[in-house]
Symmetry: none
Subunit: 190 residues, 4 copies
DNA sequence: CCCTAATCGAGACGGTACGTCCAGTCTTGCA
DNA sequence: TGCAAGACTGGACGTACCGTCTCGATTAGGG
């Protein structure tokens, strides 16, 4: 038992799964703005209190429901060639941000973080995107002998497509091949 | 007369100004999440219907209230030196995104656009940031003889600090001097 | 000129008629509860202020619009035979209260008078029904040599069908022939 | 359990009582026209939704709040003497209609029923007054061997003071003693 | 095998914003 | 000055969701 005393009825794992599933479904069906705690509980066939017992915000549920998907979708295999890895990563990133359900959840969370400091704190200092880019960035850095901070390099890589996705551009507008080249050039210059 | 017919009581300019002013104030005082149409109307000393008559969403009011400020804060004088201009612009951009009230409004709107397609449509295909960068980008492009699209170049310039600001970094974490150099390097490489 | 000064544009008789007409129509179409000053003005093709300039309440307009119709519908010719006159009057009264548009207006006004003292004052001490019964009551009184007050006799005549109509009974439930006989009996007894 | 299933939080009896009490108070204080669902909820210290959950209209609340009082105020003890019983009943009726708070509520409801068919349906085919008169009417009918329908006899009894009260007369104008005699005369004649 | 305790679904609770509607007033230009 | 038009402040409407609460029922350990 993880809590202080093992007494009392244990948490229902099926209820937890039903809630996470319901959030995923509802986000796609009605969008983040129309996503409500009430709606989530009803869709999950779960009491309202049960939701509040384990999560504080819809953002928290959404985070838990989508972060694993996000990590999975953004994982790229190493090829040994930094250029190819960067390009592959950028392709996965753009697909994630503009086409994926998990990406829609991520954008919604970033959006909510601009409104609510509590959500901003939830997303924390290292976000999912930065984490996903860590290996690619490290490989690119050693290939170019750049001395930049990881965070700066990450921003250079993620920033441009992130900006384009959040200001409404679709995948077709984003030239990941050129972005990959320019990213490596920029690293080499520093 | 500017509207269809000169008949009927004309729109009250003072009511319009009071609403825009109230939104500005309330955004700072209570934050976007706690900003309500009811609260705006009451703070402005204006009937609720008067707000709805001219604006559909709080995002629409906020847009009208902050876009001029944003344009003003992001305007940079030309120096003839593309490097200095880019650096100056990035400095202004980071200050705008992380410290300015108008920037907080802008971030809130970008956030809301991730939740609500109607707000996404309001922000449209060319956002305030892209517009503000247009001259600097053009100057940098002619200085480097780059052949990139304006939009791509703009994303290259704005993207990195935009990503950092929206994922919670403060101005101190953002190295605009290096970003400026890297931006010009990237342009030259293409 | 009938008012103090002949200066300025005189009252528009067509506007007055349009308002009264609109009230009559709307009462039938939407019922008293959904009858609004705004709706009346729009239906009449008249400015809102014009309505308020000449009438204070919708009850006041309705009163002016329906009182003539009421008087007309309740007028009964004398036959010389008090019994026949009473019965004819009661028949007209029941038709008025349960089937006529003017009667619906009258019931609505009586209803409103129970809610609003100002409307109660408008209907005054002698209502349309009492007035309409005056001649019949007088004839019956002289035929029976009764010494009752006019008001008491009127209540005796009008009260029973009035009660039945206002508590939802239709014309079929009201036996005017028997009521007429009983009214005369009651008069004779006093 | 009295409702369908025993699940969920049971209805709060204190909230129900507070609402009924608030309606009673507010009717006296502000009158029926100024009686609002919002005002009732606030006065009762109850959420607005709680009111709407159990009642559809202010008329429905008022009905529930006043019908017991009405029945109580209109109950008359039997004396064995039909004449005395009728006179006592008419006295109680006139006091109820012209002086009592419950009577004001009843008049307001009758008034509203003239405006709104839903309220008319609520008051139904047998109203409180008719019910209260049932015993007296039955006694009078057997004392006079009258063959009238109960409803007709009830209208004869209640109608005259009902008409006088609803057209603004006060108790002083209503001669219950004479009305009682005339009612019995009318019964005997049929 | 009960006892204690925490969870579960359900749904009512007090509150509050929503967006709409109407009241009654006002400010235009035209007649 | 009256008039149609229509914007103004103000406030009730009925709905929806918030986060909390109180039910009966369920499901585990510990005595």
């Amino acid at each position: 038992m993880v809590d202080g005393s093992g007494r009392g009825r244990p948490r229902s794992e099926s209820a937890r799964a039903a809630v996470l599933h319901a959030v995923d479904d509802l986000l796609v069906e009605v969008g983040y703005a129309a996503l409500t705690m009430k709606g989530i509980a009803e869709r999950a066939g779960v009491g309202r209190q049960t939701v509040y017992r384990w999560w504080s915000h819809k953002a928290e549920i959404l985070y838990e429901a989508s972060v694993l998907d996000a990590q999975h979708e953004l994982a790229v295999r190493h090829s040994g060639d930094a250029g190819k890895d960067v390009e592959a990563y950028l392709g996965a990133l753009v697909t994630f941000l503009t086409r994926s359900h998990a990406g829609a959840a991520y954008r919604a969370l970033i959006g909510e973080a601009q409104h609510d400091p509590e959500v901003a704190a939830l997303l924390g200092s290292r976000d999912v995107l930065s984490d996903s880019a860590a290996e690619v960035v490290e490989a690119a850095r050693s290939a170019t002998a750049a001395t930049l901070s990881t965070e700066h390099a990450t921003a250079l890589l993620i920033g441009p497509p992130f900006f384009q996705a959040l200001t409404g551009r679709t995948a077709e507008h984003i030239d990941t091949k050129t972005l990959a080249e320019q990213f490596l050039h920029a690293l080499r210059a520093s």
